[in-house]
Subunit: 157 residues, 2 copies
DNA sequence: AGCATATCGGACCGGAGCGGTCCTGTAAAT
DNA sequence: ATTTACAGGACCGCTCCGGTCCGATATGCT
């Protein structure tokens, strides 16, 4: 299916919401519960995703009481490719693209090199899209919250 | 990981071999066993993949004794995107890109539209690469693809 | 100091889908 | 009629994903 994982999809939604809040001047940290409520996503899932994004410095975290998360950089500096890489590892369409040693006949493989190029093309496409591109337009963002119901998870309320 | 399935990867390898045989003037049909031996892949797997490729007319099949498979079109007319679609369904990075009805709040979703564009960009990247590009020793086309600016992602800023 | 809050890091688990096998039916050649 | 080979399934183990939970740590407040 050539799909990204659901977690990554949710991650984009969460980051979009962060960017919207940031655009409104609310640059303080927001905790996981607030983000979960705003996006209608389960809290544990949100928590897991935000943790993953912190490790790649896409978000910065503040522990303890009054703690929470905030964007680590400006939305224009956050590329979609980075988000995907943070949440599901390196972008590699086939194993052998991620590094050597994944295939025992890679020395003689005739398609490895073409795959590398295709992979690069996709990667560069994803690098050209930033978080700022996703939130642009559509003023009146405050009312319209990026709420996505997970279709596999029953609404637990 | 943004990866294609192993089956699809094998499918590309098999098709590459078909194209090479075709370039040598050997245009007869080749049966699954021959292809399995030539690529060192298990016969049942090869059989399964070839069956899938026939359904999308990428290969044509000949039943019975002396039967086998052959390319359904010229290598220049077989796009990688078609191969992926044949073996693992429509190219959709998120469920809601594959069609309506996958998400119950898609009407108000703020990130759906951006995802559609990203999805299209990837799809078009994959459409630009044909089987002929993969077998040509000097993949000039692929270099161009990687360098080309895909205007498919319109900067909507 | 002590308590409450909230992230951090990891373990844990059920289910879906993938990789892979096998079996029965059918078409074609000898 | 027999043999060959594709067609179309069912089937199954295994991995990985989506999702939950818990203990540890860091911070703010009283």
């Amino acid at each position: 299916m050539l799909r990204i994982s659901k977690l990554t999809d949710y991650g984009i939604v969460l980051l979009t919401h962060f960017a919207e809040l940031s655009a409104l001047g609310e640059d303080e940290t927001h905790n996981a519960r607030q983000m979960a409520e705003a996006t209608s996503l389960p809290l544990p899932v949100v928590s897991k995703i935000l943790k993953g994004l912190v490790q790649e410095r896409i978000l910065v975290s503040q522990r303890g009481s009054k703690g929470g998360y905030a964007l680590g950089r400006r939305p224009e500096e956050i590329r979609i490719s980075e988000v995907i890489a943070a949440l599901e590892g390196p972008i590699a369409m086939v194993e052998c693209s991620a590094g050597p040693g994944h295939c025992d006949v890679e020395a003689s493989c005739r398609v490895r090199d073409p795959w590398q190029r295709i992979n690069r093309a996709i990667q560069e496409t994803l690098e050209r899209v930033t978080l700022a591109d996703l939130v642009s337009g559509a003023p009146g963002a405050l009312v319209q919250i990026a709420a996505r119901q997970p279709d596999a998870v029953p609404a637990d309320r």
